[in-house]
């Protein structure tokens, strides 16, 4: 048994003249939450479809849970769950019947279906409304039910395409906790696509950034953030002026400095002490009220990568 949940080598998929996935090589270990980040149309959904064996690759190869996507896609789908772009629920059926259907599809016994359905619906706060037709539900409730469906048969790998879309902040946080616990306690691998960088930062053990089908970066969020350069310093106060700005820009440890709305933002080259810079400002008559020093966020990393590729 391989320790990798997903392994792709030069995976490529073309649609006529458009290359949706471009020579993508990726290794995702089992039991982690992997975040796939990229702008709209970057190839994230195509990648999920390729990994589920719903699309044939144009070139390259991929294995999911040790099965080849080209020749063993049935075995892959047996052991995975997927929440795709659309929630994919039968709106004329009740929530209970939706889960019952998918339980039958994955050949769960009657008692397993009943127990698992009750367990998931209770956990997601939907149990009381289990007999209502799904068409009468809100977007967020449908999203929760679709997530329940994905987890119903206890798959080893879950694909989630924008799972927190439509969820309120409390439900989104609860889902993040669930996914974290699934990965940590049950060894389930989660492959999720998201635009929400803070979500990826909190949840993912590994992230990949894709643009125009190309994998630009892959690594732990902390590693990517450290690669993105030194810390950012935000200084709030009074008395900032152009002379000071020019002076700061000339300092060797400052890679960028800008003023906006009475704040001063500095991008440092490396882990430098900010105190000498503050002293310099004070000596030039600036009244400093607050100094905040942060590492580059995943969002900064993402935006930097997008800029570099333009």
């Amino acid at each position: 048994m391989t320790d990798l949940a997903i392994c792709t080598q030069n995976l490529t998929r073309d649609f006529d003249t458009i290359r949706a996935v471009d020579n993508l090589s990726l290794e995702i270990p089992q039991g982690i939450v992997f975040g796939f980040l990229g702008p709209n149309g970057s190839g994230k959904t195509t990648m999920i479809r390729l990994l589920l064996g719903l699309l044939d690759p144009s070139a390259g190869s991929a294995e999911v849970l040790g099965h080849d996507v080209w020749t063993q896609s049935d075995a892959i789908r047996e052991r995975t769950g997927a929440l795709l772009e659309q929630v994919g629920l039968y709106e004329r059926l009740s929530a209970e019947d939706n889960l019952d259907f998918f339980g039958r599809v994955y050949r769960l016994s009657k008692s397993e279906r009943r127990n698992r359905t009750n367990e998931l619906l209770t956990h997601l706060g939907l149990f009381e409304r289990r007999q209502e037709m799904v068409k009468d539900w809100s977007r967020g409730m449908k999203q929760k039910l679709a997530i329940a469906r994905t987890m119903l048969h206890r798959p080893q790998l879950i694909f989630l395409d924008e799972p927190t879309t439509g969820l309120d902040p409390i439900a989104a946080a609860a889902l993040r906790d669930d996914l974290e616990s699934l990965a940590a306690r049950e060894g389930v691998t989660v492959f999720l696509t998201t635009h929400n960088m803070s979500e990826a930062e909190k949840l993912c053990g590994l992230v990949g950034v894709i643009r125009q089908g190309k994998l630009l970066a892959v690594g732990h969020p902390d590693t990517l953030r450290s690669q993105a350069g030194g810390p950012r310093v935000e200084i709030i106060g009074r008395g900032f002026n152009e002379n000071l700005l020019a002076l700061l820009q000339a300092e060797p440890e400052v890679s960028a400095a800008e003023m906006h709305n009475g704040h001063l933002s500095l991008q440092l080259c490396a882990e430098k002490d900010v105190a000498p810079l503050v002293n310099l400002m004070v000596s030039m008559g600036v009244e400093v009220e607050e100094v905040r020093k942060d590492k580059a966020s995943l969002e900064n990393v993402f935006l930097t990568l997008m800029e570099e590729e333009k």
């Binding site: 649609f15 719903l54 896609s73 659309q86 039968y90 004329r92 059926l93 009740s94 994955y106 050949r107």
Partner: protein
């Protein structure tokens, strides 16, 4: 695979017939009232004693199939459930056969229900002191032909629905196909030479059901198998996702 086909049938029947709400629940009853009571009673005892109802019961399933089968794949596509269904572990054949069986099974069961209720209704209304039943060959013909026409309609309908982007478009295509198929014999009879018509008339008049029905059955069976083969070839997950 049988269990998977049953699962698809369960979902289809529940989705379309049981929980679709409103008028859909009354369609089967309305159908039975018309084709299982009204028409047999109008025709009288000849409904059972002569082969008049044979062709009728062969056509009923096609009418029923057309109303539903357009939804089979185009409906899933339109409602955004197709990709999720394809992303499950169900095999291509389970999904395809399940969809066909759900529609054909419904149409066949309804045709048989109409056949039974028609027999009972005619006997009650025209009681002769004993049960009047179909000749075994006719009864067998009704059961067999209605099955074959149900599967024929389902196969053809699924084939159209597989590629149609919307249910409406699938319905339009199917409607047109049924219209053309219905007009071919009429048009054919109008354009063939008079002598051929005479030969055909003699053959139909002289030929007993025992010789005509097997020919029709064989033709329907062959057509059924061809359409099923084409549907199996055209069922490709990649194509269905991208269409």
């Amino acid at each position: 695979m049988i269990a998977d086909i049953r699962t698809i049938i369960w979902k289809e029947w529940k989705d379309v017939l049981i929980q679709s709400g409103g008028r859909a629940k009354w369609y089967p009853l309305a159908f039975l009232a018309i084709f299982g009571l009204f028409l047999p009673l109008q025709t009288g005892i000849a409904w059972v004693e002569t082969p008049v109802s044979l062709g009728f019961y062969a056509l009923i399933p096609v009418m029923l199939v057309v109303t539903w089968v357009a939804d089979s794949f185009a409906g899933e596509r339109e409602r955004g459930t197709l990709e999720t269904l394809l992303a499950t572990c169900l095999s291509d054949r389970s999904i395809l056969f399940g969809k066909i069986a759900a529609v054909a099974g419904y149409a066949w069961v309804m045709a048989l229900a109409a056949f039974l209720s028609g027999t009972v209704a005619v006997n009650i209304a025209h009681w002769r002191g004993q049960l009047v039943l179909y000749k075994p060959s006719i009864a067998l013909g009704i059961v067999g032909l209605s099955f074959l026409t149900a599967t024929l309609g389902a196969n053809a309908g699924v084939l159209v629905s597989l590629r149609a982007p919307t249910v409406r478009q699938a319905q339009q295509t199917l409607g047109l196909a049924v219209f053309i198929i219905a007009w071919i014999p009429i048009l054919g009879l109008n354009i063939i030479p008079q002598a051929w018509k005479a030969v055909l008339g003699e053959w139909l008049k002289g030929g007993d059901m025992g010789s005509i029905v097997p020919i029709i059955v064989a033709a329907l069976l062959a057509l059924d198998l061809v359409l099923l083969g084409v549907a199996m070839t055209r069922f490709q997950r990649t194509r269905l996702i991208l269409d």
